[in-house]
Symmetry: C2
Subunit: 333 residues, 2 copies
């Protein structure tokens, strides 16, 4: 468990896009973000209070979060000076980069000396079990996509926020590095060894109250040649009661696969439901979440109305319209 | 690449069942097994020549293969004495156990001193790429099962042997530890990190002659809650032109999952074909391989005839009837 509140470290980020991970924390868990730390030359700005390490400690910050994509893929010497200062001042350090804190001997040494922890959120923190497929109590909702990066995390987070607002019992279950930094814990599923993927998802979504919903962050797509195995483990390990179909209508081909077109939402519905019913025969497709950011308001609304008429389940863009109707659809499950 | 010929090390195995992995090598690659090494008290016997380490070296053996499941799951001190003698005498050592040779400092030291290699066949030997889904030349056949351990490896090996006998171009592509020891190389798919599973299968089955067949060893089952993600990576990374459905008709429930019944062969056909056609729209289901070892000859033949009439494709038990008809079915693909 990564302890909040966080100091969001933006390093020498060239723009706000490089700080996307930190922006995710601001968007979804603003109360966890006490301030930002920007080095000289940093062009990103999250619009929250700038803090030195000492100011952060005084404000009760527990963890410095590296929330930025670094240039050249390395943890630079300039960064390290700040990270070591943070460790010595009593903060933990968490990082979502491919490059790992634990591979930097000077950071490891500083953390040991200070008695602080380094969290590499792409590294599985425990040895997960093999999945046992046993029916668990409580309810689970999984977002599945026609492609990668179509808004599955956004959908789960928006539904979770809406359910909390309505006083429903719900937990967001993170399966990727950005989700883990937002939630403070989770399973970095794409880094888990094959045999233990479904078991990791079972571990993440244990028995719960009968009226509690896990909102499970999806990964990949059953139709994506590179990552479909990861998605399959989510479908079978997650034992979903409800599926939300996620789609981005303007994408010309599968992400990273120029030879592959996206499946239709009907194809996704049929394939995902058939597979989910292997572990939960009662599973239903509850609704459709469409990322319409590249469409005009009028086009988006027309598209959604048409889709809803065609498929007979609620179709919404939670960014434009909120996640209320998706949450209400769960009540029918 | 693990170099043949092998000396099969049976340790102090209590019976032939414990030496199942060595038996697989005897069954499928007898020319690679120069002899067996049995310690005092060993109750297993493969029926091949007993050899000392010195005799094995004199006979041209290159690798000592630990082909036995050990008691208590550890590499015992008694074993180590023999393994170190083998390394010092100039042999490599290969091992398919969960316990790894590389975790034993005295073995590592002996191998380094002697300039020999330790092969832990459950450990991926290279960093596999992310799958790119690009269409490859050559043909590929994948065995998929209604469950784990229904005869997928046996089916691929039997088809491969039959194709070699007929002078066809074919390669067995191993994806598990037993298959890797039989073939001398392959991908230990269940130990690969999630994001790289499909890429590992692409790596294993590269471009080839137009009339060359890869016979890909299957793993798990699309219907097995614990391992379906691994199977999915085989279906999408393997880009099969032909699927062979594998089944064991007397099994009361899915292996290790007492709450799950097996799917029908029709269900397997429909789900596996739909998923395979995502990466290869021309993929077909070529035939059915049934493990009838728990049925009488008469019952087995009646079952197969009935199945063939019902599903309209060849249905055979390659152990009873040979793999000829399955190989012929590939010609129609």
């Amino acid at each position: 468990m990564i302890q909040a509140p966080y100091l969001l470290f933006l390093g020498d980020a060239p723009d706000n896009l490089a700080a996307k991970m930190a922006q995710g924390i601001i968007d979804w868990r603003p109360e966890a973000a006490a301030g930002q730390y920007r080095m000289e030359g940093c062009k990103a700005n999250l619009g929250i209070k700038d803090m030195t390490i000492q100011e952060a400690v005084a404000a009760g910050v527990k963890t410095l979060v590296v929330g930025v994509v670094n240039r050249g893929g390395i943890i630079s010497q300039g960064w390290k000076t700040v990270l070591i200062e943070a460790l010595e001042a009593g903060l933990d350090v968490a990082c979502g980069l491919h490059n790992q804190l634990r591979d930097e001997p000077d950071l490891v040494e500083a953390a040991e000396k200070a008695g602080r922890s380094l969290f590499d959120v792409r590294v599985p923190p425990v040895q997960y079990p093999v999945a046992n497929g046993k029916k668990r109590t409580g309810k689970r909702c999984l977002a599945v996509g026609t492609d990668c990066s179509v808004g599955k995390m956004y959908t789960a987070l928006a539904m979770h926020r809406e359910m909390e607002k309505r006083g429903m019992k719900a937990t967001f279950r993170a399966t990727g590095q950005c989700g883990i930094l937002i939630e403070g814990n989770g399973v970095p599923l794409d880094a888990v060894v094959a045999d233990f993927m479904a078991g990791a998802v079972e571990y993440l979504t244990p028995n719960n109250d009968a009226d509690h919903w896990d909102l499970i962050e999806g990964q990949g797509s059953l139709f994506h040649a590179s990552y479909s195995g990861v998605t399959m483990a989510l479908v079978h390990g997650g034992q979903p009661d409800a599926l939300i179909l996620c789609h981005e209508p303007t994408r010309p081909h599968m992400r990273g696969l120029p030879d592959y077109t996206l499946p239709s939402l009907e194809d996704l519905r049929d394939v995902a439901l058939r597979l989910a019913q292997v572990v939960n025969p009662a599973c239903k497709v509850a609704g459709i979440s469409v990322n319409t950011q590249h469409m005009s308001e009028a086009d988006a609304l027309a598209y959604l109305a048409d889709l809803e008429a065609r498929m007979g389940i609620p179709a919404v863009d939670p960014f434009r319209q909120g996640a209320g109707r998706l949450v209400e659809a769960l009540a029918c499950i």
